[in-house]
C-alpha cells in the first residue's frame, strides 16, 4: 500500500504474542485502515485506524490482509 491509501482489513493471520498485540490494538477484521506514512528508513509504517495512529514494522504488517480502495459504504 502507498501513502494515504485507504482500505479495509479482511484477515489478520498473526499468531502468538504478535497476533494478540495487533488485535488488541484494534487491528481486527472489517476495520477501515489508512496508511499515514513511513519512518525515514521506510520501516516501521504508521497507519490510521479507529481514530488514532498506530505504528508497526513491515514484517508485522505482512500478516494483515487489506482490501484496498473499497468504495465507501454507509
Amino acid at each position: 500500500m502507498s501513502d494515504n491509501q485507504k482500505g479495509i482489513i479482511r484477515k489478520v493471520s498473526g499468531t502468538g504474542d504478535m497476533g494478540r498485540r495487533i488485535r488488541e490494538m484494534g487491528l481486527v477484521k472489517e476495520t477501515p485502515i489508512q496508511i499515514q506514512g513511513r519512518a525515514p528508513l521506510k520501516d516501521p509504517v504508521a497507519v490510521k485506524i479507529r481514530d488514532y495512529v498506530l505504528t508497526l514494522r513491515n514484517n508485522e504488517a505482512n500478516s494483515i490482509l487489506v482490501e484496498v480502495d473499497v468504495p465507501e459504504q454507509d
Partner: protein
C-alpha cells in the same frame, strides 16, 4: 457502609490517567515498586464526603492479557488485592480501542466506573459521545470529564463513593458472546473449574475459562498444577482450537478479540455520533513535518541539540549557586572542626564527593524537564518510531530509546530512572540488553568528569564537545548492544506495535511532577551509594599515609628555602626576619582580595603600608604592568627573589601532595594503570579521577 476503601485507576497509556491521578490525589502520593518487579506503584490518598479513599495508580495498559509486565502486574493487583472499585479512564476521542480494556474489566466483573476523559478533544474532532447511552449499554456508570481542566473530577469522586461506599463487593461478570462454538466450550470449561479443586472464589470461573481458551500463559501454567481437571480442560481447548482453525482459519484468541471489538462496535454505533470531520487533524499535520522521511531525522537532531543548549544555558547560574553552597559548607565545616581525619573525611570525602554530584542537580533537573516535555507532548513516541529500524539493527527495540535517552542519551540523565524506563520493553532479552548498555550513556554522575576534561582541553566549545561525547556514547552503547545481542542474549525481535499518541501541549503540573520524580531518584542515589563510594574513595586516597620522616624532610626543605631567601643580599635590607615575610604574604593576599572586590578604601589603606612598594614591584614583574610610579631597582631585585621563593614553596607543597597521593591505595592503582593509559596521555592522577568516576557510575546502575 464502608468508610474506607481502595480504588484502582486504570486505562490505556495516553488516556490521561496520570492527569486524573494527580487531580484526585494532589501532592499526597507515594511511589513504591510492585513486589519483585521494577514497575512503579503510585499510591495516593484522598478524603471525599468523609470517605477515606486510597487510590492505586495501575500501569497504563491496552489489555489484561499476560502480554507485558505491566499487564500482569495490573491483573495480579486486581485479583489478589481485590480493590473495591476500578476507575477506567477512557479517552473519548479514541473510544473503540479504549473500550477494549473496559470490556475486559466487564469480563472480569470487578466493580467499574468509567471516566470518559477528553470529551472536549473528541468534540473538536466531531465525535460526540452519549455517555448515558454508553452507560446503559455497558451496564456501568460513565462520568464525562476533562481532567486537564479539572472538570468532572468531583462528579467522578461522587460516583466512586456512591458505588464503592455501597458495600456491594460482588463481582458481576458481563455476558459477552464470542460466537456459538466458543460460548459452548466456555460453559463446559467453567463447569469443570467450578467442580474441581482449581476453583478459587477469588477468580471468576468464567473469566478463567476465557483465559484458558485464549491460551493465557499465566492461567495455563496454573492448570498444569491440577493434572486431572487440567487435562480435561486442555482437551476441550485443543478440540475447539482445531475446530475454529478448520472453520474460521483463525485461533480462538483471534476470534475472541474480533468479538470484543464487535461488541464495542455495537455499542459505539448507538452511543457515538460523528459529525463530518470539518477540522483538519492538527496532529496529523504536525506529523507530516516532524516524521517526514527526509527532514524528520534532521529536526530530531536539531531538537536534541537545542535541549543541550537549553539545559546548559538555563542551569549555568543555579549550578554555580550549588557549587558555591557546597564550597561554603566545606569552608564552614573546615573552620568549625579541628584539622584532622574527621575534617578531611567530611570536607574532602563527603562534601566534595556527594556535593560534586549534587552540584549538578539543577542541570539534571532541566534535562529531565526537557525529557518530560518530549514524553508528555507525544514526541518521544515519534523518536522511537523513527529510530526503531536503526535500533533493531543493533538488536534493540524502538522503545529502548526512552531508556537510553533518560539515562544520558541526552547528556545529564540518570541511569536509575533509565533502567525503570526499560521496563516497558516486553522481551527479557531486549530489556536486559538495554539495561546493560544504559551505563554507557552520559549520565549526570559522569558529567563532572567530562566537565573537567572538556574545560581543560576544549574550553571554547563546551556544548559542542559534550554533544560529540554524547554521540560517541551512543556509538559505544549501540555496538555493545549488537555484540551482546548476537552472543549471550541471542533471540528473536519483539513486535513494534505502538500507538503514536496525538500531539498535546503538556501541562506544567505534569511536567513538574515527572521532572521531580526522576530528579529525586538521582538525589537519593547521591545520598546513599555515592556517599558510600565517596567515603571509600577518600579512604583509598588518604591511606596508607606517608611516613613522618618524609613529612619532616618536606618541612626541612621549606625551612632551607625560606632561610636562603631571607639571607640573600637583595632581600636582607627589606625583610629582616620571618615575621616580616609573613606580613608580606598577608599583605599580598589582602591586596589581591581588595583588588578583586574593587574595594577602594582598603586598597588605599594597604598602599600606605611600609612593605607595599615590594608588592607593587612583584605586581609589575608578574603582570608587566607599567605603573605610573617609579620602582627602584633594589625593590625589583627583592621582588624577583620573592617570586622565585614563592614558586619554590609551591613546588615543595605539590611534591608533598604527590608523595602523599602516590603512597595511597588509589595512587598505587593509578600508577598501575599508567602503563595502559600512557599512550592516551593520562598520568596516574587522571586515572584516579577516572576510576573514581567509573566507581560512581557503576554503582549508579
Amino acid at each position: 457502609m464502608k468508610k474506607k476503601f481502595t480504588i484502582a485507576l486504570s486505562g490505556n497509556p495516553n488516556a490521561g490517567k496520570t492527569t486524573v491521578f494527580n487531580a484526585i490525589t494532589g501532592a499526597r502520593q507515594e511511589i513504591a515498586n510492585y513486589p519483585g518487579v521494577t514497575v512503579e506503584k503510585k499510591v495516593g490518598k484522598v478524603t471525599h464526603k468523609g470517605f477515606k479513599i486510597e487510590v492505586v495508580d495501575l500501569p497504563g495498559t491496552y489489555s489484561l492479557t499476560a502480554y507485558s509486565l505491566e499487564e500482569i502486574v495490573a491483573r495480579d493487583f486486581l485479583i489478589n488485592e481485590r480493590p473495591d472499585l476500578v476507575v477506567d479512564i477512557v479517552d473519548a476521542s479514541n473510544l473503540d480501542r479504549n473500550l477494549y480494556l473496559a470490556v475486559q474489566f466487564r469480563e472480569l466483573g470487578i466493580p467499574l466506573v468509567i471516566a470518559l476523559n477528553m470529551v472536549d478533544v473528541a468534540e473538536s474532532r466531531g465525535i460526540i459521545v452519549d455517555h448515558k447511552q454508553l452507560s446503559e449499554l455497558l451496564d456501568v456508570p460513565v462520568i464525562p470529564m476533562v481532567a486537564r481542566s479539572n472538570t468532572g473530577i468531583r462528579e467522578l469522586l461522587d460516583k466512586v463513593v456512591e458505588v464503592a461506599g455501597g458495600g456491594d463487593e460482588e463481582w458481576r461478570p458481563a455476558a459477552i458472546s464470542y460466537g456459538m462454538d466458543i460460548d459452548r466450550s466456555l460453559d463446559e470449561i467453567e463447569e469443570i473449574i467450578r467442580k474441581s479443586t482449581i476453583f478459587d472464589p477469588k477468580y471468576p470461573s468464567g473469566w478463567r475459562a476465557l483465559k484458558c481458551l485464549e491460551g493465557d500463559k499465566q492461567i495455563v501454567d496454573l492448570l498444569k498444577r491440577y493434572p486431572a481437571a487440567g487435562e480435561q480442560i486442555d482437551t476441550i481447548c485443543r478440540r475447539i482450537f482445531k475446530h475454529i482453525m478448520d472453520t474460521l482459519e483463525d485461533e480462538p484468541e483471534g476470534i475472541i478479540a474480533d468479538h470484543r471489538y464487535g461488541f464495542i462496535a455495537g455499542i459505539t454505533k448507538k452511543a457515538v455520533k460523528r459529525k463530518i470531520e470539518s477540522r483538519i487533524n492538527v496532529s496529523d499535520k504536525i506529523d507530516k513535518v516532524l516524521t517526514n522521511r527526509a527532514i524528520g531525522p534532521l529536526i530530531m537532531l536539531a531538537i536534541l541539540y537545542a535541549i543541550y543548549e537549553f539545559t546548559f544555558w538555563a542551569s549555568e547560574v543555579p549550578v554555580r549557586w550549588f557549587e558555591a553552597f557546597f564550597k561554603g559548607l566545606g569552608w564552614v565545616i573546615s573552620s568549625v572542626l579541628p584539622e584532622g581525619y574527621l575534617q578531611s573525611l567530611i570536607v574532602s570525602g563527603i562534601i566534595d564527593g556527594v556535593g560534586g554530584v549534587l552540584g549538578f542537580v539543577p542541570l539534571i533537573m532541566f534535562m529531565f524537564f526537557a525529557i518530560a516535555f518530549m514524553e508528555d507532548s507525544g514526541y518521544m513516541a515519534r523518536v522511537a518510531y523513527m529510530l526503531d529500524r536503526v535500533l533493531r539493527w543493533f538488536g534493540l527495540h524502538g522503545n529502548s530509546v526512552m531508556a537510553l535517552i533518560i539515562s544520558g542519551g541526552i547528556s545529564g540523565g540518570c541511569a536509575v530512572p533509565g533502567v525503570m524506563a526499560a521496563r516497558t520493553l516486553r522481551d527479557p532479552k531486549e530489556r536486559i540488553a538495554t539495561i546493560l548498555v544504559v551505563p554507557f550513556m552520559n549520565c549526570g554522575a559522569k558529567l563532572p568528569i567530562y566537565a573537567v576534561l572538556i574545560a581543560a582541553f576544549f574550553s571554547a566549545h563546551k556544548a559542542r564537545m559534550l554533544f560529540i561525547l554524547t554521540i560517541l556514547s551512543w556509538a559505544f552503547a549501540l555496538f555493545a548492544a549488537k555484540i551482546i545481542r548476537s552472543t549471550v542474549l541471542k533471540g528473536p525481535k519483539t513486535p513494534f506495535v505502538m500507538e503514536l499518541p496525538p500531539y498535546r501541549m503538556p501541562t506544567l503540573r505534569g511536567l513538574l511532577i515527572h521532572t521531580w520524580e526522576r530528579t529525586w531518584q538521582y538525589i537519593k542515589k547521591a545520598g546513599t551509594i555515592i556517599l558510600g563510594i565517596s567515603i571509600i574513595l577518600w579512604l583509598m586516597m588518604t591511606f596508607p599515609e606517608i611516613s613522618p620522616e618524609q613529612v619532616k624532610s618536606f618541612e626541612a626543605n621549606r625551612k632551607v628555602i625560606t632561610k636562603a631567601f631571607l639571607a640573600s643580599p637583595d632581600v636582607k635590607g627589606m625583610l629582616k626576619h620571618e615575621k616580616a615575610l609573613t606580613d608580606l604574604n598577608e599583605l599580598i593576599e589582602s591586596y589581591d582580595k581588595a583588588l578583586k572586590e574593587k574595594d577602594m578604601t582598603s586598597i588605599r589603606e594597604l598602599e600606605k603600608k611600609p612593605l607595599f612598594p615590594l608588592v607593587r614591584a612583584a605586581d609589575f614583574l608578574e603582570k608587566g604592568d607599567f605603573a605610573k610610579h617609579k620602582i627602584p631597582v633594589s625593590h625589583l631585585n627583592a621582588a624577583a627573589r620573592y617570586i622565585n621563593y614563592k614558586s619554590d614553596m609551591i613546588e615543595t607543597d605539590m611534591s608533598e601532595q604527590q608523595a602523599r597521593l602516590k603512597g595511597t591505595v588509589a595512587g598505587w592503582i593509578g600508577q598501575k594503570l599508567e602503563t595502559v593509559t600512557k599512550p592516551l596521555g593520562f598520568d596516574y592522577r587522571t586515572n584516579i579521577a577516572l576510576v573514581g568516576g567509573f566507581a560512581a557510575k557503576d554503582q549508579h546502575t
